[in-house]
């Protein structure tokens, strides 16, 4: 087990080096830190002098090693637009995105389990058929369309819910949260509903099909034969065994949820990491873009490493497969 963890960590360090190499090449070829610092109106000689001082005329590899060294210390350069360290900019936007993902996951869990189980138990009922119809269509509806329709209905026509921004936030130890104010929560409803809409159809189908499969197994038949109460059979014996595959998938899908925050945040002008990234692209803020790449890359590497290690504990097969 120890060897497996070490191997996995070495692997993720290699991956981070690859990502940092991509990031650095982007910065090296596209970005112009001198312009970022002094603007356009400085003579060519002065620019050259600044370039020399910053070490921008050093060989590629020297600069790359410096870049990695700085990155390891948490220095990912300075944003041209915000004139602040990029890492600080990204971290200040992170709570908005994380809260969006968190609330969406809660919505997904609260809705999909009851609906999925119900439609597995009573596949012939009208409700199940409607749900299955919706989840078939739902897979084909892009998240931004759901978001626009929701805004149009609840934000414009009915005027029940706010459609833009985060509303009132409270600062708790540097974490700007919208979860603690009524206004912040109201602002969260539409974005998180739209974001969860991409996973709802998939999850309902997954839970339904897993549950239906479990209901066919021998041990469920045995439980019926033993004369157990039907709620006990459904919820304890059947449901508990559906849980494992579903939870496994959920860990992976959180990453996809994160990817779709980019679209949701654009529609709702949600001041999160995705919105910031697209602004950075519009403003040609290369340093911020590269920092985003590094942070997001690092985040996914971390998530995957943790998931793999947990799998390693649960399922010894993974460890053997990893060793080859």
């Amino acid at each position: 087990m120890f060897a497996f963890i070490v191997r996995r960590i070495i692997q993720s360090i290699v991956v981070m080096l690859v990502i940092s190499f991509i990031g650095f090449s982007v910065q090296h070829n596209i970005g112009d830190p001198v312009r970022d610092m002094v603007g356009e109106r400085v003579s060519v000689e002065e620019r050259e002098a600044i370039r020399d001082k910053l070490g921008l005329n050093d060989p590629f590899w020297t600069q790359y090693i410096r870049f990695v060294g700085n990155a390891a210390k948490g220095d990912l350069g300075t944003s041209y637009f915000h004139s602040k360290p990029t890492l600080q900019v990204i971290l200040s936007k992170a709570p908005a995105t994380l809260e969006l993902v968190l609330v969406s996951s809660i919505i997904i869990i609260l809705l999909t389990f009851p609906i999925g189980i119900y439609s597995a138990l009573f596949p012939r009922s009208l409700f199940s058929k409607i749900v299955m119809g919706f989840s078939t269509i739902g897979v084909a509806v892009p998240v931004f369309l759901t978001a626009i329709v929701l805004i149009y209905i609840f934000g414009v026509e009915l005027n029940w819910l706010p459609a833009y921004g985060r509303g009132e936030t409270v600062n708790i130890w540097g974490w700007e949260t919208g979860l603690l104010t009524w206004d912040g929560l109201r602002h969260l409803i539409l974005p998180s509903l739209s974001l969860s809409s991409i996973m709802l159809p998939l999850y309902i189908r997954l839970i339904r099909s897993e549950m239906m499969e479990v209901l066919e197994t021998e041990y469920i038949k045995f439980a019926w034969a033993k004369g157990l109460n039907k709620n006990r059979v459904w919820l304890v014996h059947a449901f508990k065994n559906t849980l494992l595959p579903v939870v496994t998938v959920f860990g992976v899908e959180i990453g996809i949820l994160f990817a779709f925050t980019l679209l949701t945040e654009t529609v709702f002008q949600w001041q999160g990491m995705g919105f910031m990234f697209l602004e950075a692209v519009e403003r040609s803020d290369t340093a911020l873009l590269v920092a985003y790449l590094m942070v997001v890359g690092g985040m996914f590497v971390l998530i995957n490493t943790v998931i793999d290690v947990i799998y390693g504990f649960i399922n010894p097969m993974v460890r053997i497969a990893g060793a080859k």
Partner: protein
């Protein structure tokens, strides 16, 4: 002729004709693709022809609504283009990018999967590590970041000029590991079978064994994922265009039309976003439905209620 006879009496066609969902989704798909490619013939206006576009015609409502004109059946968009014609041309752009991206990723993924599955060893380990790395990051993030980098590198003007081939490459690059893994898995199953050994014994070279003998036997799963991948690619294109990282509004695709109309939804011009949105949903939905049927027919084992 003989092949046609065989196809006519095959189980494949039999189960296709017996499944109304498959028949109708395939028909709609076929019609939409035909309409998209015949857009220059069918569409009443040419959205690329700037001489007939009049900005004064902007935001005219669909013809059956108040303020609508008979000339413009579904109304006009913000630039004064006939929305129906623009949608047809937009669908064509989306279809070309979707199919192009799938062909690109299939070629890339199949070559990698075939090589690493058949040769094994270090090459296999190397390619599969890359695929693992890319697989661990959602494809949408990869596509968005790549196109952002391309846009910065080329500048917005150049990027918009080359948008279509670039999007094909970007979406193709973000999805190839799926093909590579699928093909590799079936190559591993095939490569120790007797016909491969026979081919090796007669002394055929490796490339012929790989492409002529093994490849045709691995194509069934490739076909199954390809349909879903087309839907996925069309949706990725729409997402990228919606974010402003894809097709520009002057070269409309469904995604960029939805994006352009989005701000006008709140001033009441809902049709600019709504109709392209419906078209996008219908198009992806029929591909997905057809793909589901195809998967069930070709892989009865995978069937799940």
């Amino acid at each position: 002729m003989k092949r046609w006879q065989r196809f006519k009496s095959s189980y494949f066609l039999y189960s296709f004709r017996r499944d109304p969902v498959a028949v109708s989704s395939f028909t709609v798909f076929f019609l939409l693709v035909a309409v998209a490619f015949l857009a220059p013939v069918i569409a009443p206006f040419n959205p690329y022809d700037t001489t007939i576009i009049d900005i004064m015609d902007a935001e005219i409502a669909p013809s059956w609504m108040e303020g609508g004109e008979d000339r413009f059946w579904l109304g006009t968009d913000i630039q004064g283009r006939d929305l129906f014609s623009t949608m047809l041309y937009g669908l064509r752009t989306s279809v070309i990018i979707g199919l192009g991206a799938v062909i690109f990723q299939a070629i890339l993924g199949i070559s990698v999967g075939l090589t690493s599955g058949y040769l094994g060893g270090r090459i296999d380990a190397f390619f599969m590590r890359i695929a693992d790395i890319q697989f661990s990051i959602p494809y949408l993030i990869v596509a968005i970041i790549t196109s952002a980098i391309f846009q910065l590198a080329f500048g917005v003007g150049r990027f918009e000029q080359m948008a279509m081939p670039l999007l094909i490459v970007i979406i193709g690059m973000s999805e190839w590991p799926k093909y590579a893994r699928t093909v590799r898995a079936s190559v591993l199953g095939e490569k120790n079978k007797e016909y491969v050994e026979a081919a090796r014994v007669i002394g055929l070279n490796r490339r012929i064994i790989m492409f002529r003998h093994i490849l045709p036997n691995t194509l069934t799963p490739v076909l199954v994922i390809s349909t879903i991948q087309v839907a996925q690619a069309v949706m990725s294109e729409a997402a990228l265009s919606f974010l402003g990282l894809g097709m520009p509004i002057t070269k409309p695709s469904l995604g960029s039309l939805i994006n352009a109309g989005f701000e006008y939804v709140f001033s009441g011009s809902w049709w600019i976003t709504f109709f392209p949105g419906i078209l996008l949903v219908v198009f992806t939905l029929v591909i997905i439905l057809f793909g589901d049927w195809l998967r069930d027919v070709l892989n009865p084992k995978l069937y799940k209620g």
